[in-house]
Each structure stands twice: as structure tokens, then as C-alpha cells.
């Protein structure tokens, strides 16, 4: 590090050998400024930048949130530092602590400090935070313009020291303001035995975060601490000439006080920006890159982004990350889109969690409320169109993880809405933390995500204490401690490896499906490479993500995807299933498992002509031609003249049927006909994972409908049961009854809705036997049968568009899409490994006791 701590001024002659690094100057050494520097360093910024930090406060960087704890005596000053003075030295940062910046000369690119010193910069970051707002009251100031003695604000370490000293010698305090800071000040003073009255002009406490009911419950809890509260009352004046003696209310009442804390809000500190000619409205106006001018950026409470200013710490972690991505060039495309993370606080000892709307706004909003004021517990959830759009938890915040997940990802909700707030019997709390995405912020105070906690556990921290020490999670207001503990237990206990990316739709793009879908729609991305360019970190392609993205795009834009063949898995490029020796299997469509003599004749001819390795009746009620060479596929298809059976795709596959009313003695419904009609309608539709259907003519269930993804059972009197989520593969699960309907048309309509809903909400490779229990059959029934969410018309329409876009992929055999589409990729050295006719099969090897483990090449006659 070459720049020394002496003020390197432009006017001081020839500067000593300037390093080739760029000069980064940060104005404001608070939580945002220091975090920004940390993020820059984390991205290797020390190689790129010489860093200078100006801080008006004469300290290192401390956790401002913990000033509440310092005031209440729970923590001492030493315990709140995030970055000590030594940290700056160790990292080669030139810290100018106790030096305020006056303005920036953006033309000359120098920062001018309070002493007139000029510090040149290449990049400047403003992180000036906010200043307490003193409302207009008479008598706040002495004749000389200074505040009356005994009047304090609560923002800095110095403020806190002064308040602590005053608390020892003063008896009666009035706190003006019943928001977060006012309540914390009142609570802190009360712990020192000071008698506290709190005056708040809005009608209820913490009106910024809470609805009226929650505010009332909070008030009871605060009053239980011995603090008297007046709401809906504006203070008119301070009484006293030199020292404060009391606070006067509009009705003339004077509340006697020798100590007054003004905590009536904050305003972004914009002085420096204003003097520098940067855009300022309520705060310093920044764009999505956190930039407010040429090479000037701003982060933290001083900024206004998309019209929004923030008064809590959570958003600044995100802002600092985006800023650092830009400054270091790690991700030049990074953008900040505003924060809507949950507010999690501990106020006056009470846990408060708030996200989204505090209460219902329209008549159609559902509102679930639980209130138990004597225990200080209040909880609500606001649901709109089946999505969680708001939740408040007070006093009991155990459902935070679950609600935050539902809120962040707009997940479908349990039909039994009370389950939003309570664990109705079964699911344990840790279900919530397991489902929380890795990027979910758990500790808002220190910007710690679930992923960071899990990493710490994997690195060997297995006690709550060790995790907290390593990550700082839970060391702010402490409200998240229980969640941190749950995650620690979950991560330490779960034997399965915890994959950071478990919730992402595909590994290469850090987004869950709903988020990804929204981004693809908004940016109208129609090709896999466009998705990577726009959404992957660094715009980088990822081979293992391509197949899932192709499937998703084809679902979102039926018939309108820009087809990129490399986005497809080999099976989907050549419309056949690759085999162990690189040959392929060909399964023609045989709707409902019904075939004809003519089809069988063709199959027989093709098998002879192309010397097919094996002809086999499959478990899906059709015929498989195995061991077909890639270059023969177009010929096989043409000669068969049958459409693809999609036995290779993550798609709709088959409908197994039984012989039904036409032939069976017991048949109650024409299952064969219905199965054929269903296959005709749903053929080839891409789904998150394979989809296999079954239709049976009576509950004897000969075609195994109860264990199909969709199983239809005729039950008599023209009625049909539709079951979903069954399995008899790697897992065995009996399907859940979705509904009983009165006609085959209704079966097809309901099945279509289920398929489309699964396509839109299922995760990549999530079979219906996982999907259905994840959402719950009640929820599915509400959406798909009762149209609880008004989704049916849309589902029908989008499914229809997909059906309309169907085209038999085997037609590609006539005109290959890419050069060499059907060219062999077989390394023909000592392959194929698969037997030409398997042991035991007609024409195959005579079974032998030692006839090789399947792994050994048992070629008969070699490759064709």
C-alpha cells in the first residue's frame, strides 16, 4: 500500500510515486461505508484500489444497532465494533477518522474535507447515513442557537455516552417519538431507573412498520415495562430557558422532565451531495448501479433509490454488494432493484417481524389474525390472489422462516390459512428453515444469509455460539437468534449434503423458479443463451443448466422459442433414448397401449431391416426397438410412419389403459377410449419431469392408475375419479384424489389444468409424487377445482397454446435441423457394449451361469 496516512493533497507538489491502482475514496465510515469497503476487498479489490475512508465520528466502524444495548447496559462499548482501527491498518486503508468531508469537486475529482484538504479520487462513494430529525417545536433551542441542555438525540456513540451519563443523574425523561429509536431510548433509560413518558404523534406505536392492532399489543408490552405511552399527541413546545424542564402538549399539559430525547425520525444526510451538485431529492438519487454521478456512487441511508429511502440496515447489505460488483468489475451487470426483505427487530425487548403489507388493502384480500395481548403476542398474514403479500409477527416470531420464504418466493400457500401462523399438528419448525432459500437473509442486522450459516456449520461450527461468533448472525438486535439456532441444528443434524443452490431452478442461475420465470417474462428472453447472458453470474453458460432452461422456455413461449440445439440433452436432439453403448431406443406412440395389426407388421419390418437389437414390450404398454444406431433413426421413423412416443423426454409419456367397458365384465367406464383421447391431447408436452398417466375402467385398477402421476378411475354412473401424485418407480406412493367428475370431457379439462399448473410451479426434475405433497392436495383442489385463485382460465389458455404448438418431432428425420444431427458419435473401437440380442431372448445368447456382469462387453457378432 503506497498512500500513507498523511493527507495526500494535489497541491503538495509532485506526489511520491503514485501507484497504478485506482483511488477509492469513501465518505462516511458507518455501517454502509465500511460494508462497501469490506465487499470491495472480498472481491479482490485490494489489488485494484488504494482506499481512503473519511468518517466524521472519531472511531472505527461500530454496529449502530447495538447502541440500544449499550444504552440499556446489555453490552459495553468495546463489544460493538465491527471494524476496529487496527482492521483499517491491516487492510492498508487510509482512515481519516474524525474528519468530515465538506464537498466533492466532481470536475477536478477531488474530495474536499473540513480542513480544506483535497484528496483526489478515481471513484468516490458517499455513505453519509442520516441525521436525527428535530420536529418544529417552540423552545428547543437556546438564544445562542444551541439545543437546550438536557435535550438529546440518539444516533451516535457520542449521543449514547451522553444519554448514559444523563441517565445516572436525571430522574424524569420524556421521549418524543414512538418508532424504533424512541422505543429503544425509552427502554434503555427505563432500565436505569429513569421514569419515562413517551409521546408519539401518530395514532399507534411503530406506525412505519405496524398496523393499528399490532401497535396496540406492542403498547401493552411497552407499558408493562413501566413506560407510560401517549399516542396521537403532538408535542407543542419544550419548557425551560437554559435547561429543559418539561414538554408541553397542545392541551396545555406540561410533562415535567429533566431529560428529553428527540427521536422523531431521521433524514438522509445529503449536505455533502448538495454542495457537490449531485442529484438530491429526499435522499441522494442513485440508479440501479448505486451511481449518482460520474464515478460517484452512494449507499446506505443517505440514498434514494427508485423513490425509496430506507431507515433500516438490511437494504444496505444488498446495496453494498451491488456497488462492489461494479467497482471491482466482478459483475458489471449487477443491479439493485430495491429491498423487500423482512424487517426483523427486537424493540424494547419485544421481537417484531414485519414484511409487506401491515394489513388488508382491498375487499378481496384475505386476512388471518391471531392476537393475544396479555402475552404480548400478535400475528397476522395478508393473502392476495393466493400469495402472501404481508405478515406481522409480534412477541412470537417462530413462523418467520416459513413466512419469509412464502413471501420472498410468492409460493402457493397452505389451503388451511391458519397454518400460516400455526403448526397444525404435524410439521415441525425446522420444516421452515429447511425450506428457506440459501440467499434468504436471516440476520438483518449483520446481513447474514442462511447460506453463510450453513457454510459455517460445514466448516466445523456446530454450536450456536460458534456459529454466531463466526458469522456475527444473531449479534445485532438478537431477534433472529431462534432462527439461527434452528438453522444450525438443521445444518448440523441433516446427514444430506446441504447444497447452496438447492432452491435454484438450475445450478447455473441463482434464482428459484418463480423469480426466474418473472425475469424471463419481463425481459422476454426466448433462447437459452439469452437467459445466460441476462441472468447468469457473469453471463456465463452452464452446461448442466441448459436442459432445464430449454424445458422452461418451451413451457413459457409455446411455439416461439428460439431453438438452440445445444440447449437440449442428446435425447431431445435426436428424439430417442440414448443407451449404454451410444445407440438409441425407439418407442413409437401407441395411444393407450392399443395397437393394430398393421402397426405390428411395420414394427416387425423395421426391426428386420435395421437389425434392431431387441424388440420389447415396455412397462408403459408399448413396444420398444432397442439398439438403433443414431444414423438409422430418420430411416426407422420414416419406415414406421408412426409418431414419437416420447419415451425419452422430460415430458408427457404415456397413458396406460385397461380394456374397459368394451370388453371387460366389470368395466364401469370406457377407459380405453378416454386414455386414447388423453394421449392425443397431451402428447409431447414438456413437463418438469416425466409424466405418466393411467386410466382404468373400475377400481380393480388393472392399469395401475392409483400409482400414476395422473390416474383416472371409472366409478360408475358416468363418474370418474381423478387422482394425482402417484408413483411406483423409485418411490411408491398412492395418488391423492383430486376430484370426482361427471364426464370424460371434465376429466380431460381437469387433467389439463393439473398438467399446466405442474408445469408452471413444479421445480426442474420434481416428479408429481414430490410436487403434490409439497403443495398439499387441498391447496391443489382449491386452485384447480374451486378456482380459488382465479387461475383456471389462464391455465386453460396456456395449455391450449402448447397443445396447438405440438408437432411430431420425428418429422425432423426428413430434414435434419443441424448439420450432422444424426451423425454417429460412437467411438467404434470396442463398442457397442450392449448385446445384440440379450441372453435368454429369442435369438440371443444361451444363458450361462457366468454370462458376464452387465458391465462386460458381451458382443455377439460385433457392431452391425
Amino acid at each position: 500500500m503506497s498512500v500513507t496516512s498523511s493527507t495526500a493533497t494535489r497541491t503538495a507538489g509532485i506526489p511520491a510515486q503514485r501507484s497504478r491502482k485506482r483511488r477509492l475514496v469513501v465518505v462516511g465510515n458507518g455501517m454502509a461505508g465500511a460494508r462497501a469497503v469490506e465487499e470491495v476487498l472480498e472481491r479482490g479489490g485490494a489489488e485494484q484500489f488504494d482506499v481512503t475512508v473519511f468518517g466524521a465520528e472519531p472511531y472505527g466502524n461500530y454496529n449502530r444497532i447495538l447502541l440500544s444495548h449499550v444504552l440499556s447496559g446489555e453490552e459495553d462499548e468495546e463489544g460493538i465494533y465491527l471494524n476496529s482501527l487496527a482492521w483499517y491498518t491491516e487492510n492498508g486503508i487510509d482512515l481519516r477518522s474524525g474528519v468530515a468531508v465538506e464537498r466533492i469537486d466532481t470536475a477536478a475529482k477531488v474530495v474536499v474535507d473540513q480542513h480544506g484538504g483535497e484528496t483526489p479520487y478515481d471513484v468516490c462513494v458517499l455513505a453519509t447515513g442520516s441525521t436525527p430529525f428535530v420536529p418544529r417545536m417552540e423552545g428547543t433551542h437556546r438564544l445562542d442557537g444551541s439545543l437546550l441542555e438536557g435535550v438529546f438525540s440518539f444516533r451516535t456513540l457520542d449521543d449514547t455516552r451522553a444519554l448514559l451519563a444523563a441517565a445516572r443523574t436525571h430522574r424524569r425523561a420524556v421521549v418524543i417519538g414512538g418508532g424504533l429509536l424512541g422505543l429503544e431510548a425509552a427502554h434503555g433509560l427505563a432500565t436505569h431507573g429513569v421514569r419515562v413518558e413517551l409521546v408519539h404523534s401518530p395514532p399507534h406505536l411503530m406506525n412505519q412498520q405496524l398496523g393499528a392492532e399490532a401497535g396496540k399489543v406492542l403498547r401493552r408490552s411497552v407499558e408493562a415495562l413501566g413506560i407510560s405511552v401517549r399516542t396521537g399527541v403532538r408535542t407543542r413546545a419544550l419548557v425551560g430557558t437554559e435547561r429543559v424542564e418539561g414538554v408541553e402538549l397542545p392541551d396545555g399539559t406540561v410533562l415535567p422532565a429533566d431529560l428529553v430525547v428527540v427521536a422523531a425520525g431521521i433524514r438522509p444526510s445529503t449536505d455533502v451531495a448538495l454542495r457537490s451538485g449531485l442529484p438530491v431529492e429526499r435522499g441522494i438519487v442513485v440508479d440501479d448501479r448505486m451511481s449518482c454521478g460520474d464515478d460517484v456512487y452512494a449507499v446506505g441511508e443517505c440514498v434514494q433509490h427508485r423513490g425509496q429511502t430506507y431507515g433500516l440496515v438490511a437494504p444496505l447489505w444488498e446495496q453494498a454488494g451491488v456497488l462492489a460488483d461494479h467497482l471491482t468489475g466482478t459483475d458489471p451487470r449487477a443491479e439493485y432493484h430495491g429491498s423487500r426483505t423482512a424487517t426483523k427487530l427486537k424493540v424494547a425487548g419485544v421481537d417484531v417481524v414485519q414484511m409487506g403489507l401491515p394489513g388488508p388493502e382491498t375487499e378481496d384480500d384475505e386476512f388471518v389474525v391471531f392476537s393475544e395481548p396479555h402475552r404480548g403476542v400478535y400475528q397476522n398474514a395478508v393473502v392476495r390472489d393466493g400469495r402472501l403479500v404481508g405478515a406481522t409477527l409480534l412477541g412470537d416470531v417462530r413462523k418467520t422462516a416459513f413466512l419469509q420464504q412464502a413471501f420472498d418466493q410468492a409460493l402457493p400457500l397452505p389451503e388451511e390459512r391458519t397454518a400460516l401462523l400455526f403448526d397444525l399438528g404435524a410439521p415441525a419448525e425446522d420444516v421452515g428453515v429447511a425450506e428457506l432459500s440459501a440467499s434468504a437473509q436471516v440476520c438483518a442486522c449483520n446481513g447474514v444469509t442462511k447460506g453463510t450459516i450453513v457454510d459455517a456449520v460445514e466448516d466445523g461450527c456446530t454450536s450456536l455460539g460458534a456459529v454466531m461468533a463466526r458469522t456475527k448472525a444473531g449479534k445485532g438486535c438478537g431477534s433472529c437468534k431462534s432462527v439461527v439456532e434452528q438453522i444450525t441444528e438443521w445444518a448440523a443434524g441433516g446427514a444430506l449434503t446441504v447444497d447452496e443452490s438447492a432452491t435454484w431452478y438450475v445450478p447455473g442461475i441463482p434464482m428459484a423458479k418463480p423469480e426466474l420465470v418473472a425475469a424471463i417474462r419481463a425481459q422476454r428472453l426466448r433462447s437459452v443463451s439469452a437467459v445466460f447472458r441476462a441472468l447468469a453470474p457473469g453471463g456465463e453458460e452452464d452446461a448442466k443448466s441448459k436442459m432445464g432452461l430449454t424445458s422452461l422456455l418451451r413451457m413459457l413461449w409455446p411455439g416461439e422459442v428460439e431453438d438452440e440445439r445445444d440447449g437440449r440433452y442428446i435425447n431431445d436432439r435426436v428424439h430417442a433414448n440414448i443407451q449404454r453403448d451410444g445407440t438409441f431406443s425407439v418407442v413409437p406412440q401407441m395411444k393407450g397401449g392399443v395397437t393394430t395389426a398393421e402397426q405390428l407388421r411395420k414394427i416387425a419390418d423395421v426391426a428386420d431391416k435395421y437389425d434392431v437389437g431387441m424388440i420389447k414390450v415396455t412397462g408403459g404398454q408399448r413396444i420398444d426397438l432397442l439398439g438403433v444406431r443414431k444414423e438409422d433413426l430418420p430411416g426407422v421413423w420414416a419406415d414406421l410412419g408412426m409418431p414419437s412416443g416420447y419415451a425419452y423426454g422430460k415430458s408427457f409419456r404415456t397413458v396406460k389403459t385397461c380394456v374397459g367397458t368394451d370388453f371387460c365384465r366389470f368395466g364401469l367406464g370406457n377407459s380405453t377410449r378416454l386414455g386414447i383421447d388423453m394421449e392425443t391431447r397431451f402428447q409431447g408436452i414438456e413437463t418438469p419431469a416425466k409424466l405418466k398417466l393411467g386410466v382404468v375402467g373400475c377400481p380393480r385398477n388393472c392399469a395401475e392408475a392409483y400409482v400414476k402421476d395422473v390416474g383416472v378411475v371409472a366409478v360408475g354412473s358416468g363418474r370418474w375419479e381423478v387422482h394425482v401424485g402417484g408413483a411406483a418407480g423409485a418411490s411408491v406412493r398412492k395418488a391423492d384424489l383430486l376430484a370426482t367428475v361427471g364426464s370424460p370431457e371434465e376429466v380431460i379439462a381437469l387433467t389439463g389444468r393439473f398438467i399446466q399448473f405442474y408445469r408452471e410451479w413444479g421445480n426442474w426434475l420434481e416428479r408429481t409424487y414430490e410436487f403434490v405433497p409439497r403443495l398439499g392436495i387441498e391447496r391443489l383442489r382449491a386452485v384447480l377445482v374451486d378456482d380459488s385463485d382465479g387461475m383456471l382460465a389462464g391455465l386453460d389458455e396456456r395449455l391450449q397454446a402448447t397443445v396447438d404448438a405440438y408437432r411430431d418431432p420425428w418429422l425432423e428425420g426428413r430434414e435434419p435441423v443441424t448439420p450432422g444431427q444424426f451423425r454417429t458419435a460412437l467411438p467404434l473401437v470396442d463398442l457397442p457394449l450392449a448385446p445384440h440380442r440379450p441372453a435368454g431372448a429369442p435369438g440371443g445368447l444361451v444363458p450361462e451361469v457366468h454370462a458376464g456382469s452387465a458391465a462386460e462387453p458381451t458382443t455377439t457378432g460385433g457392431p452391425r
Binding site: G508, A543, D566, R573, G820, A825, L831, L833
Partner: protein, 105 residues
Amino acid sequence: MTSTTSAHDVCSLEEVPPGEGRAFAVAGQQVAVFRHRSGRVSAVQAACPHAGGPLADGQIDERVVVCPLHLNAFDLTTGESSGDCAPLRVHPCRVDAVGRVSVEV
């Protein structure tokens, strides 16, 4: 070890669609040639070291090829597997001004 390699003209770039691979016999060896979307080409042995899978049918990005059979990934520059398979043989290769791909074997 005394092995000499020399460059062989293998195909024109057009024969390998963007983002895909094709297999060729080059001087008696099976080689899979990949054309990255960035325009680069890579060439490696055609048979997967794991169980002989046809790597030219795999999916690629700028770094790896994923074998179609059991989805093992191999670095196209170093040949190393991201799991614990044996490494691939990597063949230096290039595209000339008129779009011919040559591979050293």
C-alpha cells in the same frame, strides 16, 4: 515419453453446430470436436473414460463437457473430471482463417 503430435485438418467449422460436438476419426483416433458459442473449438478423446459414453453427444459450456450417459463433467482445457473419473486426453486444436478446424493428434 517420446510422442510426437502433428496437426490434422479435420472438418470445416460449419460441420459442428454452435454449442455442440461431433465425433471424427483423426489419424486412427476417435476425437470429439466441440464448437463453443464463443467461437472457440475444443477437442478431446471421443469416448468417456468412465464407461465409454459418446462425449460428442454431451452438452458443453465454455469450460466443460457433460457426458450424456452418467453426466460426469470434464474440463475441456485440462481434461480433468469434476468427479473422480480418469482425465480425458485433450488435443490442441484451432480454426484457421477460412474456417477449417485442425486438431493435433
